[in-house]
């Protein structure tokens, strides 16, 4: 519970050049009503809504160029291949990658991390080695490493959080050793909103020779991403959390890493020659893309990234941050509210507990007002345990949210507080 200090500052109007109402009109779903009220979508950390440009790009693949990729000599196959590989180039630009061949299309962040654990981890982690994670990881950046460690007789080492929900970097440093093979850290915590100091962690981990894998599921949609500046070796994110379709995601990894990695799955599209005796595997990225990929989803993801470029990422991010800061301050001012996590740097997410009310009930009260939030453990049970709560209510913002949606959230939380007082 925070004492009211200065009056809360309202989010300023969006920066010039960012026309909020026009942007909202690009997202058809934002016009719908829920339980008779306008939809207030504040569950963007779970998934984001999709602009028309993405929906149209997906439809266009099916309507005009539906074909398999890299498998035919006919015109449609050539077009589909060009679209798919063009999407790869768009992702590479978005991430500041050295080359499109460093971009592997996968189903999502979870598969990307499983690929890293299964291919790189299996080859590099042995008995007595260590894999370091932080205390704020989503299960998807925890369980694959746990499984790897169990298989190899390696040790999973956890860098703890302080009471604000920030990783204690000194403690992390103390836990690095010459046995640390991999350091796997989130860019942004999905449960607390904490922005991790990835560059600093990467430098420390590299000093002991570890490979740095970043879970960017919440980072890529809300922060500028430049993999070179972040200093990581691999970066994973999901299409559906960055205004693109579900079923598509990205593993970016440095070329040398991918080149040294054995295949993850076997099948079509990842080989150069196959006999019954032996198979010669193709080069990255195709080596890691066995089977027909989610072609239209990759194209849809590229359309989402183009859309973000088009509306201006910095301006969009500035608006989103202004809304988040206002929501955090106003929630902290409510006497019944305890913020879960007060990190020094925060993106998109605010998690809180309401005295006397279980998050599930808060979620239902808000839902009846048309407000979508997440109530639960956010697939980050160790984070919940760290803060001594079974679950939290979480509001997560995107650039298409409005100021009156912050008002609606605060009114709804007040109503829940009254109901369960």
């Amino acid at each position: 519970m925070a004492a009211a200090a200065a009056p809360v500052e309202r989010a300023e109007a969006p920066l010039p050049g960012f026309d909020l109402e026009r942007v909202r009109a690009d997202f058809p779903i934002l016009a719908r009503r829920v339980h008779g009220r306008p939809l207030v979508y504040l569950d963007n950390a779970a998934t984001t809504q999709k602009p028309r440009a993405v929906l149209a790009a997906i439809a266009r693949v099916y309507e005009e160029s539906c074909s398999n990729v890299a498998r035919g000599v006919h015109t449609l196959s050539g077009e589909a291949t060009a679209l798919y590989e063009g999407a790869r180039a768009t992702v590479a630009r978005f991430l500041g990658a050295a080359d499109p061949s460093e971009v592997v299309f996968v189903r999502g962040t979870t598969e990307a991390i499983n690929l890293m654990a299964g291919a790189w981890g299996r080859a590099r982690v042995g008995e007595g080695d260590e894999v370091l994670v932080t205390g704020l990881e989503h299960h998807s950046n925890l369980v694959p490493w746990q499984m790897l460690c169990a298989e190899k007789g390696a040790r999973l080492v956890v860098a703890p959080l302080d009471d604000r929900g920030d990783v204690i970097v000194e403690e992390l440093e103390r836990r690095l050793s010459p046995r640390t093979r991999i350091a796997a850290v989130a860019h942004v915590s999905n449960a607390l909103g904490t922005v991790n100091p990835v560059r600093r962690i990467a430098d420390l981990a590299h000093a002991v020779g570890a490979t740095v894998v970043v879970d960017g599921a919440q980072g890529a949609p809300h922060l500028p991403v430049d993999v070179a500046a972040l200093g990581c070796d691999a970066y994973a994110f999901s299409g559906h959390k960055i205004y693109g379709p579900s079923g598509i995601g990205v593993l970016w990894a440095r070329r040398e890493l991918l080149a040294a990695m054995p295949p993850y799955q076997g099948g079509g599209g990842m080989i150069t020659s196959v006999t019954f005796e032996d198979t010669e595997f193709g080069d990255p990225p195709h080596r890691f893309e066995a089977g027909t990929p989610a072609i239209e989803a990759a194209v849809g993801l590229a359309a989402a990234l183009d859309y973000l470029e088009g509306i201006g990422r910095e301006r969009a991010a500035a608006w989103e941050k202004a809304l988040l800061d206002e929501a955090v301050a106003r929630l902290a001012d409510l006497p019944a509210v305890t913020l879960i996590g007060t990190p020094r740097e925060r993106a998109s997410v605010v998690s809180f507990a309401l005295a006397g009310a279980h998050p599930h009930d808060v979620g239902t009260v808000l839902d009846r007002r048309g407000i979508a939030v997440r109530a639960g453990h956010h697939c980050a049970q160790p984070v919940m345990e760290r803060f001594g709560v079974p679950a939290t209510t979480r509001a997560s913002f995107a650039f298409y949210n409005r100021r009156d949606e912050v008002d609606a959230l605060i009114d709804g939380v007040r109503a829940a507080a009254e109901l369960f007082a």
């Binding site: 279980h358 009930d361 239902t364 009260v365 009846r368 639960g376 453990h377 919940m384 109901l419």
Partner: protein, 153 residues
């Protein structure tokens, strides 16, 4: 409070959530089971003393949302002193009540008594499991406590 929530959060439910009845351990219990809803983290442990095919004593511990806590509390009130066969009938009646189709008229069996306050739950399909968790846990306790907790998933 928004009026359309009062069908779910009836005063009786809010009251049992604030002050759950029969809450705590039951040293004399000869049946117990744990229930868990992994989706929202609701947890309930049920203690029952059955004698001569009758629920002589019943208590619960746990934490969870208002619906699951009130469901557990009201269930223990409804089942205390009730023959096991009748308890099973109550379970079935309760289950039908909360899983009947939203909006359709539903006949509330008289024997459900106070449990009828849960009729509103059927209009909130994502909350049905909150209400049924304690009842499934009770069934598991009668069947003999399994090693793993009863899960709604």
């Amino acid at each position: 409070m928004s009026t359309d929530l009062s069908d779910l959060y009836q005063e009786v439910i809010l009251d049992h959530n604030r002050r759950p009845r029969n809450f705590g351990p039951l040293p004399a219990a000869n049946r117990s089971a744990r229930g868990h809803n992994p989706l929202c983290g609701d947890k309930v442990t049920l203690f029952v003393r059955v004698e001569d095919d009758r629920v002589e004593e019943i208590a619960f511990e746990g934490s969870g949302c208002a619906i699951s806590m009130a469901a557990a509390s009201l269930m223990t009130e409804a089942l205390k002193g009730v023959p096991v066969a009748e308890a099973r009938t109550l379970f079935e009646g309760f289950h039908r009540l909360v899983t009947s189709r939203p909006g359709e008229p539903v006949e509330v069996p008289a024997e459900l008594g106070k449990l009828a306050v849960f009729a509103g739950v059927r209009d909130y399909p994502v909350r049905v499991k909150c209400a049924t968790l304690p009842w499934h846990t009770f069934n598991a306790a009668l069947a003999g406590a399994p090693e793993r907790p009863v899960s709604t998933e």
